[in-house]
Amino acid sequence: MRETRFRTAVRTLLAAMAALGVLLLGIAPAASAATLAEGESGSGETYTIATDTTFAPFEFRDSSGNLTGIDIDIMEAIAEDQGFEVEWQSLGFNAALQAVQSGQADGVIAGMGITDERAEIFDFSEPYFTGTLTLATTEANAEEIAGWEDLGGKTLAVKTGSLSEEEAKAQQEEYGFEITSLDQTTTMVESVKSGSADALMDDYPIIAYGVEQGSGLVTIGEEIPTGDYGFAVNKGQNAELLQKFDAGLAELQESGEYDEIVGTYLGGEDDGVDKSSFWGLIVTALPALLSGLGNTLLVTGISFALAMILGLAFGFMKIASNPVLRGIAVTFISIFRGTPILVWAFFFYFGLPQLIGTPVNIWVAGVMTLTFNGAAYIAEIVRGAVQSVDPGQAEASRSLGLGHGKTMQRVVLPQAFKMMTPSLINQLVIMLKDSSLLLAIGFAELLYQAQQIYAANFRVTEVLLIAALLYFIAITALTQLANYVDRKVNK
């Protein structure tokens, strides 16, 4: 009986490992194909293009969760015209730039203004869009703030590191306002709506699109031309891709397809869903959120299975008599318990590729991050449980002539597993929640999808509420399942 249960547990873990193996196998050909593609020229080539996550109308997720927007459509149209394939990496603006610099992506199109500073690091295409900045505020504020001259003593929200920040700094002295720099348009909109900033300045297309989506803001004052948006590649690399972009862009502008694409997003076409109601929001957001939930569950499942294996190994090493094994376990546990998960997510996805010279798949980076962190905690759970089994149990087993290994396997571990089950379930729930941190590297899990959605429609609270509800349902179901298994196995 015991033997069967023990083997079942081991088999489950192995199956999970096999699943990861299959996953890795799936990744390997893709990776080698990408490497080959770089060497080839001509049609059928695939380029990895990095973009922002949330820069509507340039890039955002449509109601079925697909990446869409002006940048996306232009790039796809150029690819079709020039005969190459595009593999999108939706990362966030700064991460997209880093991805190109570290060789994770071939080019970046992200509503990116062409500046001298950036031109030192990147090679830009011909401009494909001319940007303008606009001020915006709430309808209520609009009664007293109508333009720059009304901003004296007020707080203006701008986007960190963007042209809006530069422009605001240039105007600050003349009009005497405070600047608060924020990372995302969503945050800027929220801070104006909540009153912590009085107005914001951002790219006109974004604000105009948001107004249309029911953001509750109005644009004020005159638009300020800011310069041109360009597609970029790493300086001195991928010149061929750049040429194709320029050639394709010229074709699109000539054929009128360019105007069609831009008109689709700035012309205010209706897609037939009443987005303003909460029910309408659920209908539009749910497909993308559910796909995010799927990824959340998958990455947590794989990571937890691997973390169990590693955690068991390190847990035993920590109570081993060999000081070297003990030292290794203590070092591993203290490193991964003593550092934030986010640091490791960035390290495995952005740092590691620069060390080993090849890109790291985002699933691999995500699984490594969660696995190592989880393993450190599981190792402590294992150690505690094994040490809490009555020493008389091991003595009785040893007195029968069973060796240390058999005693562990047949007598101590089954009892330890029973004791550690509640802590392991707890760890699984923590890991599922921690997986949301992987959004920082652009892993398309549940919270990331939620961010994508509210970044396009600025309905932060409602979307987060739906995401939280999905987390809650998933975790409750998982806990119930785990408790059921616990009751079955640990009768």
Binding site: M1, G392, Q393, S397, S399, L400, G403
Partner: protein, 280 residues
């Protein structure tokens, strides 16, 4: 047990650092009428055990022969349990030698797991495996050590349970048993590998008084079947009844040894006299 100095095996005498020297000759035991065998099952020479600076056993010498039943009595902390646990090396031995049959326990080349198969041990706290049924507890060693198939081990478990009067409990969980029943299962488990010798470490001390009798009866039956046994016990009446020899330990050594009547009716050492005056 015949706690004996090798050079003067026949001379009874008072305690010294090596423990008292008493006889343990083969033949009919004066205490129980049992026939003690020629074969020496346990041979202990100058056994010492320390935990750091705490010298728990300060030199114990003696022999146990086939079919002999030896009871070890003495006050708490006298080292009785430690002595017993050294006999299957649950405690590492600090000095001296312990031989069980042909095996020298202090020889690092000896596979202690092999030796332990020949030594059954019963603990004060039973130490049954709570995650296994009664039968699985008994089957564990024979199956894991490759002696018996599962079916054979099951049959052996049922025979042993019948022997300790628990034939109907084979598929029960230890948690559902009374203390006395648990200890009888523990005895059956210790017998599963057909040991040459059984060690009982205060086997009745954790039991409610009304359950002591059933466990003692099982031990009494074993004695009558000729099992070689060492019992650390507080049951003086039982020791007097069942033992061929009684050892009185105090301060980490054997202070006095003899037949039950010598120990209980005619104690020589003041420490034994004082101990008996308190417990009898």
């Amino acid at each position: 047990m015949s706690a004996s100095a090798p050079e003067t095996p026949e001379t009874p005498g008072p305690g010294n650092d090596g423990g008292p020297v008493t006889s343990g000759t083969p033949g009919t035991s004066p205490g129980t009428g049992r026939t003690i065998g020629e074969t020496v099952v346990v041979d202990v020479q100058d056994l010492k055990k320390s935990f750091g600076d705490n010298h728990v056993l300060t030199g114990i010498t003696g022999q146990i022969r086939e079919r002999q039943v030896v009871c070890v009595i003495g006050p708490s902390g006298s080292g009785k349990s430690t002595f017993l646990r050294c006999l299957n090396r649950l405690e590492e031995i600090s000095g001296g030698t312990v031989r069980i049959g042909d095996y020298d326990l202090t020889d690092p080349k000896v596979d202690i797991n092999k030796v332990r198969r020949h030594i059954g041990m019963v603990f004060q706290q039973f130490n049954l495996f709570p995650h296994m049924t009664v039968a699985e507890n008994i089957m564990l060693a024979p199956v894991e050590l490759g002696n018996l198939s599962k079916a054979e081990a099951r049959q052996r478990a049922e025979e042993l349970l019948d022997r300790v009067g628990l034939a109907d409990k084979a598929d029960a969980r230890p948690a559902s048993l009374s203390g006395g029943q648990k200890q009888r299962v523990a005895i059956a488990r210790a017998l599963a590998m057909s040991p040459q010798i059984m060690l009982f470490d205060e086997a009745t001390s954790a039991l409610d008084p009304e359950m002591v009798g059933e466990v003692l009866q099982v031990i009494r039956d074993l004695a009558e079947e000729g099992m070689t046994m060492v019992l650390v016990t507080h049951e003086m009446g039982f020791a007097r009844e069942v033992a061929d020899r009684v050892l009185f330990m105090d301060g980490g050594k054997i202070v006095e040894a003899g037949t039950p009547s010598e120990i209980f009716d005619n104690p020589q050492q003041p420490r034994l006299q004082e101990f008996l005056s308190k417990v009898l």
